[in-house]
């Protein structure tokens, strides 16, 4: 993994967990894995602090441990990918909110905050927060529990593994059938606990964590559906969604190509929904154009029961990665460069001369752009000698080609860097205006207190005037800037998601 990725990872740890965790994280990033004893030496931190940092990171599944070279010593490994996923948490929550409602969002947020926790504690905390945000006296614990069960059922949360037998270095395992076993919560105990009385909800010791892959699966499906909607139309998008649903009935979610889905079943499913009448009328036609489209998401694999269709996840993400990179080339180097890039993609191996001829770009410009792309590693060049004798003139060809894997990795790297920059800038803007922001926070606090004490509106206005208009304008500006950077970070993560998924399908 690259240093850029490490830097990003380190910055994220700093932002969320502070300096000590960051230092330990950096130290672990540099080596594959390390026993506890060696960390204080290289980080110059006291053992106690290191232990604490490791505990935090283990809690969030950022660090794992296993038996090392010495039989009774654990070695710790940093899972940098998981750390970077922290950036995606807002998107997980958004997905929950839009698809499963506010309660689900709260529950997931509470688990994410703690890394892992028991169902009852999560529910109680969510209840407390809901009460605050909705300003009500009581929330229905049963609804929350049922929501939790739904999330388990949909596999958005799963049980944590636990140590199986007594060993010096515990091994965490869990049987597959236990993973999504719903918790048995004693409602009486739960409500007692919520009211602050001693009670036993009966699920002590069973911890839950968020199944991030399940979220990624939804993201993936969303991307594919919206791509098809863009290319064809919303009806086709809906058809793909139905197809995905049918696919999950018979296929592991992450395989490269799904098992075939029979047409008859698909048609049934489409008929059941009513918001897309046109789709119901033309299912077969939509399937046909989807199958014939160059995106290659869907292919027909058999003729029995009206046709068998399967979804090509791997192909889909190859196509989406191409589209992403083509777009990037377009924005970075202009439309002519994008034309050259696509041309090389189509021809696989091509000479400079051919490029300018087919792309219809003046020779000089074409050469300039081609070599620019080469320099920036979007294109590769291969030398081809026709004769081995070195004294024969004009017998060497230079062929341009694209190594998609390599380009995808490079763009991923660019994303890391851009993310790092955006975060750095955000923190910079914040610290530059720290004094002002703190002042504002103080004033808000005072206002709140005064309100509770029943201050008059004149008094309140007076306090608010402690911030001068120019100060307020500045604060507003800073707020907009920070929002903008935050938003950019989320968008960058979307690009990263596609590329990472592509690369994971390539293995």
């Amino acid at each position: 993994m690259s240093t850029q990725f490490g830097a990003l990872c380190s910055l994220i740890l700093l932002e969320h967990f502070g300096e000590i965790v960051q230092k330990v994280g950096n130290d672990l990033y540099k080596c594959q894995s390390k026993p506890l004893r060696l960390i204080p030496g290289s980080t110059k931190l006291p053992l106690q602090k290191v232990k604490e940092a490791l505990r935090i990171m283990i809690q969030y599944d950022f660090v794992t441990f296993s038996m090392g070279q010495l039989p009774d010593r654990a070695e710790y490994t940093l899972l940098a990918d998981k750390v970077v996923l922290l950036l995606r948490y807002p998107r997980y929550l958004l997905l929950m909110k839009t698809q499963y409602g506010d309660e689900a969002e709260m529950l997931i947020e509470e688990i994410l905050r703690q890394g892992k926790d028991t169902a009852s504690r999560v529910i109680i905390r969510a209840a407390t927060r809901l009460k605050e945000s909705l300003k009500v006296e009581k929330v229905c614990l049963v609804t929350l529990r049922d929501k939790f069960l739904v999330l388990v059922n949909k596999q958005f949360v799963m049980r944590c593994p636990y140590p199986s037998e007594e060993k010096d270095v515990p091994e965490l395992t869990i049987k597959e059938k236990q993973l999504y076993l719903p918790p048995d919560i004693n409602l009486k105990g739960l409500s007692d606990l919520e009211e602050g009385k001693p009670g036993n909800p009966g699920d002590e010791g069973i911890c839950w964590r968020v199944n991030l892959d399940r979220f990624h699966q939804d993201f993936r499906d969303q991307i594919m559906v919206s791509a098809i909607s863009r290319r064809l139309d919303d009806n086709a998008g809906e058809l793909l969604r139905q197809l995905l649903k049918q696919m999950y009935l018979r296929t592991e979610p992450w395989v490269a190509t799904s098992n075939p889905v029979p047409f008859t079943e698909l048609r049934e499913a489409v008929r059941k929904q009513s918001s897309y009448p046109l789709l119901a009328q033309y299912v077969d036609q939509y399937l046909k154009i989807m199958e014939e489209d160059s995106s290659g998401f869907v292919s027909k694999v058999g003729d029995s029961s009206g046709g068998q269709y399967s979804l090509n996840m791997k192909t889909a993400f190859i196509q989406l990665t191409w589209a992403t990179i083509e777009n990037i080339v377009m924005e970075r180097f202009g439309s002519k460069a994008a034309r050259i890039f696509r041309l090389v993609k189509a021809k696989k191996f091509v000479e400079q001369e051919q490029i300018q001829q087919i792309a219809m770009i003046p020779a000089k410009e074409a050469k300039l752009l081609t070599y620019k792309l080469l320099e920036e590693n979007f294109l590769q060049m291969q030398e081809l000698r026709k004769s081995l004798a070195s004294n024969v003139p004009n017998k060497t060809f230079f062929l341009f080609y694209i190594d998609l894997n390599q380009v995808a990795r490079m763009v991923l790297e660019m994303c890391c860097k851009a993310l790092y920059n955006a975060m750095t800038r955000r923190e910079y803007e914040r610290s530059e205006n720290r004094r002002m922001i703190e002042k504002q926070q103080r004033i808000e606090l005072i206002t709140l207190n005064m309100k509770e004490q029943g201050a008059t509106s004149e008094q309140l206005a007076e306090i608010e005037e402690m911030l001068t208009p120019p100060e307020q304008a500045l604060l507003e500006k800073v707020r907009i800037m920070i929002n903008r950077l935050n938003e950019a970070e989320l968008q960058l993560d979307e690009t990263m998601f596609i590329l990472q998924l592509y690369l994971s399908y390539q293995i």
Binding site: R332, K417, N421
Partner: protein, 310 residues
């Protein structure tokens, strides 16, 4: 034209001369009619009244004048007519000129680069230059600037129309690539196809019918462009396909081949909108590679960021 009887030849001079001349013409006509060449026997059949020695002398004369090439095919000698335009032109030229001429002739309307002539002829540059000058002055050959490399000249026979790869066809005006013209055509073609795609939005006949409507053949596009009248030069359907191919590589259209081998085109949408990374300055930043925490290019002081955030 040797004869044993001088007196007779004097007496019948005119007669004999004309009969010989007419035989000569008949032989030439015969050779012209047969592409493969003619044998001695063919000549005998064509002009039976010619004496063998007369025949020999006529052939010798034609060979000497460079009308005929001599071939040996399966033991029989064949006489084949050379390209008539050439004979007259190289007439009176010396051997080097003839060689250079034939090298250039071989290259056809694609032309040949002076360096390659030098390799093939083994002449030294000064001599070759001189010969090329002479041939050019005689209007036997001409130099044409090639579009593939601006300083590169190629030589070809004077009366030839240069190949498209040399002139670049419709897209070149005096060896200059007309980039703007190409761009305009590119846009117009896209507009045409895009309109077709838009028109399918409210097509009631189902998705396949809609898709089929959005297709246009290269001929349709060609007609549309011709009627627009934006081109000063006459464009061919192939020219149109060249332009449509640029749209293909712009990722804006798709091409498919029909059963009869002709091409159909239609406008398509890209699968994704502009990705997140290009919506922040770093994604399109020219100095991304040099940007880091330390040094003068850094995210805290970056002006691109500053502009973007304002």
């Amino acid at each position: 034209m040797t004869t044993n009887k001088p007196e007779e030849s004097v007496r019948n001079g005119n007669d004999q001369l004309s009969s010989l001349e007419s035989s000569e013409h008949r032989i030439l006509a015969l050779a012209k009619g047969s592409g493969k060449g003619i044998s001695d026997k063919d000549i005998q059949n064509e002009v039976p009244d010619l004496r063998p020695d007369q025949r020999a002398s006529i052939i010798n004369k034609l060979l000497a004048q460079g009308y005929f090439d001599l071939f040996n095919q399966g033991g029989t000698l064949l006489y084949k007519l050379k390209d008539p335009s050439r004979i007259q032109k190289v007439k009176g030229a010396d051997n080097e000129e003839k060689i250079v001429y034939s090298i250039i002739e071989e290259a056809g309307n694609k032309g040949i680069w002076i360096r390659d002539i030098r390799f093939k002829s083994n002449l030294i540059p000064t001599q070759l230059n001189k010969i090329l000058k002479i041939l050019e002055n005689k209007k036997l050959i001409k130099a044409v600037k090639s579009v593939s490399a601006s300083k590169k000249k190629v030589y070809m026979l004077y009366n030839l129309e240069p190949d498209r790869t040399v002139t670049g066809g419709a897209w070149y005006c005096d060896q200059d690539f007309e980039a703007e013209f190409v761009d305009v055509l590119n846009q117009q073609c896209y507009r045409f196809l895009h309109q077709k795609l838009e028109a399918t939005r409210d097509c009631k006949g189902g998705p396949i019918a809609a898709r089929n409507i959005s297709y246009a053949s290269s001929k349709d596009v060609w007609k549309y462009i011709s009627e627009l009248g934006i081109s000063k030069v006459q464009l061919s359907v192939e020219d149109m396909e060249t332009i449509l191919d640029t749209l293909l590589y712009d990722g804006k259209v798709e091409r498919c081949v029909t059963t009869d081998g002709s091409h159909l085109y239609r406008a398509v949408e890209s699968l994704l909108p502009a990705p997140g990374i290009v919506r922040i300055p770093c994604g399109v930043c020219p100095v991304l590679r040099h940007c880091s925490d330390v040094g003068s290019v850094n995210p805290k002081k970056c002006v691109y960021m500053k502009e973007w955030l304002e």
